[in-house]
């Protein structure tokens, strides 16, 4: 055990030094660190949301929404596709009830052509089944059933798009340090540090922002519209702010997918806040063509299936630019612009978990936590010195080193320090003490049995090592499980605990032993006070 050749001493010292170097930036304010020369590590420990302040939101996607949209799209594809076939295939009883699409082909001779068209609209998912199954019943009824694989793929696509959209809405300028990650099959986790009021953020995420421009159905009977009945190819939608209902065409002239920009602006007529939008060339052309052919007729601007307004087309809109006005404030107009710019959410999201901590409370927690850590740490240092004297000092050096190494490792791995993590720090001090206590008690015992100093220290260390190892592994099992199953703050606790177990094993077994070995080699004491 006293075999510490020079290279080993240097190696261990170097490891400690690097660890300390990484710990240093976390102990100084950020602006001080920014002025340091570039070779000094500048990575600081991340503060968790409970210390830094901020919002944690867990968003749940409405998966039935994806299935419904998919069914609706297929219904439209089949309806228009079969109508445009040459010769046209006439169908009846098109329905999308019970999560499946079914229709009856009027002329049984056209059944094969209809089935072929339906099949051509499906595609394989990976190497497995296709995304829809097409079946025929009673010689003339076709049924399209979405497969689990197809739905899974649609959900997967919707969620990855939704994640992008959420990211763009939370951080439109890319200046905040936000986290937006998918969790599980149908959830998105959002973390925004330093947020005082999460309500604005929630409003921003709460809207799908599906923008559509559609022509108004001028031939609809007002009675039918009021009752919610639409003619074929048309639909009835509610007007904004309780303005009744209006019938519009199902097919959109142009949708928000074709949008390349949206900005908050002011309506030139009355200077009220509005949103100006710009379409890409395809969208602009389509918009121009339709407005040219329908001058004088009204069209509807629809957001999330609600008609915002239905102005008449005064002249063809050729530049690909349009303006949405209504009763907006600058703030709401700006929010809408952000929502439109970031694109529509392919699926509706709702907040199912929120944890927000204000910056004041975070600061207060840091202050109290640090005081508690220092108080606890000092008590332990005094206790160790009082109990083991000179050997207690070795243990205390190892202990302080341990704290620095944990800080350094956390900075190196960019781990987050949370409030329970601070508690973990204190407990790790306890674990680190334990290793030293086991060793020192064992040395005491061996001395009592009449062993010589060097022999006693040697045996003590050797015998204590297995116990320390076993004890640390059991702790690591608990810490590992906490990390795996825990969320947010609990994870922060587990991170500190596990890193602390590793560093305390290193400092107690290797570093403290080296210090003792070097000391024994130099002084060769005949007796020990322990």
């Amino acid at each position: 055990m006293f075999d510490f050749p020079r290279w080993k001493v240097w190696g261990i010292s170097l490891l400690c030094l690097v660890g300390i170097l990484f710990a240093v930036p976390s102990m100084f304010p950020e602006r001080v660190v920014a002025r340091w020369p570039s070779w000094v590590p500048s990575a600081r420990i991340n503060l968790g949301l409970d210390l830094a302040g901020g919002s944690y939101l867990l968003l749940q996607a409405d998966t039935s929404d994806v299935a419904r949209q998919r069914l609706q799209q297929m219904e439209e594809t089949i309806e228009t596709g079969l109508r445009r076939m040459k010769p046209r295939i006439a169908i009846d009883n098109l329905s999308s009830a019970a999560g499946r699409l079914s229709f009856v082909v009027r002329d049984p001779a056209q059944l094969d052509a209809a089935v072929e068209f339906a099949r051509s609209q499906t595609k394989p998912v990976g190497l497995g089944p296709r995304d829809w199954n097409v079946n025929v019943f009673d010689q003339n009824r076709v049924e399209m059933v979405p497969t689990a694989a197809g739905l899974g793929e649609a959900l997967e696509n919707a969620m990855s798009t939704a994640r992008e959209v959420v990211y763009n809405r939370v951080d439109p300028d890319g200046t905040r340090e936000v986290t937006v990650i998918r969790q599980g099959r149908d959830r998105i986790l959002v973390e925004v540090p330093g947020l005082q009021d999460p309500e604005a953020l929630k409003t921003l995420l709460g809207k799908t922002a599906r923008l559509e421009f559609k022509l108004v159905d001028l031939d609809a009977e007002p009675g039918d519209t009021a009752a919610g009945r639409a003619r074929p190819g048309m639909q009835v939608l509610p007007m904004a702010e309780g303005g009744g209902r209006i019938a519009v065409q199902r097919r959109a002239i142009v949708t928000g997918d074709r949008l390349i920009d949206a900005q908050q602006t002011f309506d030139p007529t009355d200077n009220s806040p509005a949103v100006s939008i710009t379409f890409d060339s395809n969208g602009g052309r389509a918009f121009g063509k339709v407005t040219q052919a329908n001058v004088g007729k009204p069209f509807a601007i629809i957001l999330d299936d609600v008609v915002l307004s239905a102005p008449s087309i005064r002249e063809p809109i050729l530049g690909g630019q349009a303006q949405i006005s209504g009763s907006y404030t600058v703030q709401t107009a700006n929010d809408l612009a952000v929502q439109l710019r970031s694109g529509k959410l392919p699926v509706e999201l709702s907040v199912i978990e929120e944890r927000t901590v204000g910056p004041d409370l975070g600061k207060d927690s840091i202050r109290k936590g640090v005081i508690a850590c220092i108080a606890g740490g000092l008590l332990v240092l005094v206790f160790m010195f009082a109990t083991y004297g000179f050997f207690g000092l070795f243990a205390n050096v190892a202990l302080i080193l341990n704290v620095l190494l944990i800080l350094g490792w956390m900075a190196l791995f960019n781990a987050s320090l949370t409030l329970p993590g601070l508690a973990g720090f204190v407990l790790t001090i306890g674990a680190a003490v334990d290793a030293n206590v086991i060793i020192n008690e064992r040395i005491r015992e061996e001395l009592r049995r009449g062993r010589k100093v060097i022999d006693a220290v040697d045996t003590g260390w050797k015998e204590a090592s297995t116990a320390i190892l076993d004890a640390n592994i059991t702790n690591a099992i608990a810490g590992g499980l906490m990390f795996y199953f825990g969320t947010g703050p609990i994870r922060g606790f587990a991170v500190v605990l596990v890193i602390g177990i590793l560093t305390s094993a290193f400092t107690a077994i290797t570093v403290a032993r080296m210090l003792v070995a070097l000391w024994l080699r130099r002084t060769r004491p005949k007796s020990l006070t322990l």
Partner: protein, 322 residues
């Protein structure tokens, strides 16, 4: 220099003689814990029960009844309002509302808006809202992690020692957890994710102690093959007593710092650890060790099944290599 010795050298306390008393104490504590758990239950926080919790700093002292009435009038359920330290800092808890998963968050937004509007200068310090689904998942994950931690550690001890030691460790864990749960039930301190973290830490700690002593028992079993099991356990406990006391005193000192100076946000975590450390110290002296007697650990427990002929004198060895 005179050093502090919490435990005198060469103690020879006959722990075994007090075994009956210890069994009585353990039984009583467990019976009380179960009684509280059954009659009062745990005071589940929003993490596990769902609902919303606010922490608001008001500009001046508020009339709690008025606040209660105002929030109760929202039709979102009965609010639970209490002060935190000062009469300007107030914690508000509301139950899980009826409706969809999103309902609770919408309700939290309404409560927040109501407070900010009705009390100028009020600053929301923290908001937590957890839907029924999420709280169910958190509770499930918490329970799974506790079970896995207990099983994983018992298996590890079985693998490193003998099955009797694994069972002994498991029994002492169940003993400790039940009593700490009983403490949460008695005091009605918020039982939330932090409490689970406290329990998991306690599992690690209580075993830490157990393992150190088991290690010594194993060593002594190999060393003193002729000694009867009961005096051998006594010897092992005595030999490791000063270590148990010293370590736990150190941990206790550190945790006391947290309980008294730490932020109240993590009180539920630190108080659980504090109680756990005390119970764990006791149980590693009595429960984990003397469980080995009825389980039939004997001098032959660590004799390799093959190799040495039966009854061969074993050579004392210090060189265990693992």
């Amino acid at each position: 220099m005179r050093l502090l010795k919490l435990v005198p050298d060469n103690t020879n306390i006959d722990f075994l003689r007090w075994r009956g008393f210890a069994i009585a104490v353990s039984t009583l504590l467990i019976a009380l814990s179960v009684f509280f758990l059954v009659t009062r239950g745990l005071n589940f926080g929003v993490d596990f029960a769902g609902g919303q919790q606010h922490r608001v700093l008001f500009a001046q002292a508020v009339d709690l009844d008025e606040l209660r009435g105002r929030l109760g009038g929202l039709g979102l359920g009965e609010p639970n309002v209490k002060t935190l330290g000062s009469d300007r800092e107030i914690a508000i808890r509301m139950p899980l509302p009826e409706g969809s998963e999103a309902a609770v968050n919408a309700a939290a937004s309404r409560v927040r808006a109501t407070i900010v509007q009705a009390y100028p200068g009020a600053r929301p310090q923290a908001v937590e809202s957890v839907s029924g689904k999420v709280s169910g998942e958190l509770a499930r994950d918490g329970a799974i992690s506790l079970l896995l931690a207990m099983l994983g550690i018992a298996l590890y001890i079985w693998f490193r020692f003998e099955w009797q030691f694994g069972v002994g460790a498991l029994v002492s864990l169940i003993h400790d957890l039940t009593i700490v749960l009983g403490f949460y039930s008695l005091t009605q301190i918020d039982f939330s994710l932090s409490a689970i973290a406290a329990l998991l830490t306690l599992i690690g700690y209580s075993l830490n102690d157990t393992v150190v002593v088991y290690d010594r028992i194993r060593e002594n079993l190999k060393k003193y093959r002729k000694m009867a099991i009961e005096p051998l356990l006594n010897l092992s406990v005595n030999e490791t007593l000063s270590r148990t006391i010293a370590t736990n005193t150190a941990v206790l000192l550190a945790v006391l710092g947290l309980v008294f100076f730490g932020p109240d946000v993590i009180f539920s975590l630190t108080i659980g650890i504090l109680v756990g450390v005390v119970i764990g110290t006791y149980s590693s002296v009595y429960v984990a060790r003397f469980m080995l007697v009825p389980l039939g650990v004997g001098p032959d427990s660590f004799v390799p099944k093959t190799g040495l002929p039966a009854g061969a004198e074993r050579v004392e060895s210090h060189n265990e290599s693992f």
